[in-house]
């Protein structure tokens, strides 16, 4: 994006949506729905310039940083579950206040159910993944209003 004159770039394909817009200080700002299993790789065999920024995980290049907003990210690779079993209630929901040691979800890795703690204080404002979805390291799980 840097070398072009583009200010907005948007792409939409089945199961994937990406929008990049040049932010106020020239730094590209990316929003998009994230699919951990399929990166939107450019098909060019040998890129002459840097590969397209909208690739693999949305976690390293993420949505705009709003003040007071944070994310609970996955500390491991595995499968995300909102509750400890299909019959149980989800650990948290939107609007719920959490402390650092509140269990917010389970990530199952190699048959072990790991309870994931919030590690921050705040209110859940958005749940970014679905039960049963595979997640990678650093992937954003919950959007949280800090404090």
């Amino acid at each position: 994006m840097k070398r072009s004159e583009l200010t907005v770039f948007a792409v939409e394909e089945e199961g994937f949506k990406l929008k990049i817009k040049r932010g106020p200080d020239g730094v590209p700002v990316v929003t998009g729905s994230h699919i951990p299993a399929k990166p939107a790789a450019a098909e060019a065999p040998a890129p002459a310039a840097a590969p397209s920024p909208g690739t693999p995980a949305a976690s390293p290049a993420g949505p705009e940083e709003e003040p007071g907003i944070g994310f609970i990210k996955s500390p491991m690779v595995g499968t995300f579950y909102r509750a400890s079993s299909p019959e149980s209630k989800p650990f948290v929901d939107t609007g719920v206040k959490v402390q650092e040691n509140t269990v917010v979800c389970i990530i199952e890795a190699m048959k072990i159910m790991n309870e994931i703690q919030a590690e921050t204080k705040g209110t859940i404002i958005e749940i970014l993944v679905e039960s049963g979805q595979p997640v990678e390291y650093g992937q954003r799980l919950f959007k949280i209003k800090q404090g």
């Binding site: 890129p47 690779v77 390291y137």
Partner: protein
């Protein structure tokens, strides 16, 4: 049938594996650290999963996360590349117990050959000459001095859990031995978590000549010739070539047979390398076995025409080797230069950063295995090798002239690289005459002004 492979590595070897898989119609899953988001192989793989932070200990060495990724990615096999977990017997075992095929030897072979003292003992029993030395690790200094005197100075003190040229000290007499013995143990403990050392005769100005082995799971083992890797700096290889300018046909035959005996003793499957030291009189000694694919495998590929990564996958699939020893022909001479992001004019200081212009050479007999591209930022967390230039031709003369020509065309702007160093070596009379031993690099650097490398 392997239909999907997880690549547990990064950089040029990960790219190499992606390419082989694509040609075989096998799906690829790249696991990567946060520092490798823009890596070429991550872009080209069918799927990619982030497994951790930039430091290897938090990503590429996290066996648990890699296996977890293998599960959610539903892969049939894992290719470990070289370095990282490729020679980690525990990781190979974990793959075995999770029903994911580890593309390499059985964990037992890795364990056997991973302990350098056990490895020596195993091959010795198979009639493979080894460097005279202690029969296993020595813990007491008094014992160690006795052994050193028995072998005869100079001796080399090596870490049992070492490898890749690390954890080694040389002593020329009783006095320096005492000091080096303790230093070696301390360094080994720090680097490998195991302070045990063993002692060997130090062979002066040897050539480092290794044999490529390929074995299937049905008991067939062949060797694919040797690679002469004598041009090394601090035990890190810089240039590898095949055939070795030193070996006669007779010595090649003897060493090839010894290599197969060693691999048989290790109950080996898949690709591996037997390393020997060869002295000026043609006596050869086993030093270690590398139970993985190696950096310099393309040299053998260009000489024999055999695709080693595809063969690794075939073997992992349970297929028999579709050729025997008699079918292996050495048709070309090939030479590889490892291109590192280092400044040879400044003591090889690492030179990470962003590559501005990248233009790689081409033409007849030129192969480039590199994950670099214009605009790529080399992360500072990993080794400095950014690519390999392999040049080959019908004779050694053609290969060398071609390498010189290709290095002259190779443009990597924005960082310092070892390209000028390699060019200087290609033009050096001692190297051209095929006289380089493992002491060559030090000698070459001492007589060459550093500004020749900028």
């Amino acid at each position: 049938m392997i239909q999907k492979i997880l690549i547990a590595n990064r950089g040029e070897i990960a790219l190499r594996i992606v390419r082989a898989c694509r040609e075989l119609g096998i799906k690829t899953l790249a696991v990567y650290s946060e520092a490798d988001v823009q890596s070429l192989h991550v872009q080209l793989a069918d799927e990619a999963i982030c497994i951790g932070g930039p430091h290897s200990a938090d990503s590429y060495l996290r066996a648990d996360r890699i296996i977890s990724a293998a599960e959610i990615g539903d892969v049939d096999a894992i290719h470990p590349g070289y370095g990282f977990l490729s020679e980690n017997a525990k990781f190979a075992e974990q793959c075995e117990s999770c029903n994911v095929k580890f593309i390499g030897p059985k964990s037992n072979s890795i364990k056997m050959m991973g302990d350098k003292a056990v490895a020596k003992d195993t091959v010795r029993k198979a009639g493979v000459p080894i460097v005279p030395g202690s029969d296993g690790p020595i813990d007491s200094e008094t014992e160690a001095v006795k052994v050193a005197r028995k072998i005869g100075y100079p001796v080399i003190i090596k870490a049992v859990a070492g490898g890749g040229g690390r954890g080694m000290r040389i002593a020329h007499n009783d006095v320096s031995f005492a000091k080096e013995f303790h230093v070696a143990r301390g360094e080994a403990e720090k680097a490998f978590g195991n302070g045990q050392v063993y002692i060997e005769k130090y062979i002066e100005k040897p050539r480092h000549i290794e044999f490529q082995i390929l074995a299937d799971s049905h008991g067939h083992i062949v060797h694919l010739g040797e690679r002469d890797c004598s041009v090394q700096r601090r035990h890190q290889k810089l240039i590898e070539e095949s055939p070795s300018p030193f070996l006669t046909a007779d010595l090649r035959k003897k060493m090839g047979k010894a290599a197969i005996r060693a691999a048989t003793a290790a109950e080996y499957e898949n690709a591996g390398t037997i390393e020997f030291l060869v002295d000026a009189k043609g006596h050869f000694y086993f030093i270690e076995m590398n139970t993985r694919i190696q950096v310099e495998h393309p040299v053998t590929e260009e000489v024999t025409g055999i695709d080693l990564i595809k063969q690794q996958i075939r073997v992992a699939n349970g297929e028999k080797l579709d050729f025997d020893q008699g079918d292996v022909k050495f048709e070309k001479h090939a030479i590889e230069c490892r291109i590192n992001a280092e400044d040879p004019a400044r003591g090889f200081a690492p030179s990470p950063g962003t590559i501005g212009l990248y233009y790689s050479p081409g033409g007849h007999g030129v192969r480039v295995d590199s994950h670099a591209y214009s605009g790529y930022t080399i992360p500072p967390y990993y080794d400095s090798m950014i690519g390999k230039l392999i040049c080959f031709g019908s004779t050694r003369k053609v290969a060398l002239e071609r390498a010189y020509r290709a290095l002259s065309e190779y443009l990597i702007r924005g960082i310092k690289t070892t390209i000028p160093l390699h060019k200087a070596i290609m033009a050096d009379p001692i190297f051209i005459e095929g006289k380089a031993t493992t002491s060559y690099m030090e000698e070459f650097l001492s007589r060459t002004p550093p500004d020749l490398f900028s």
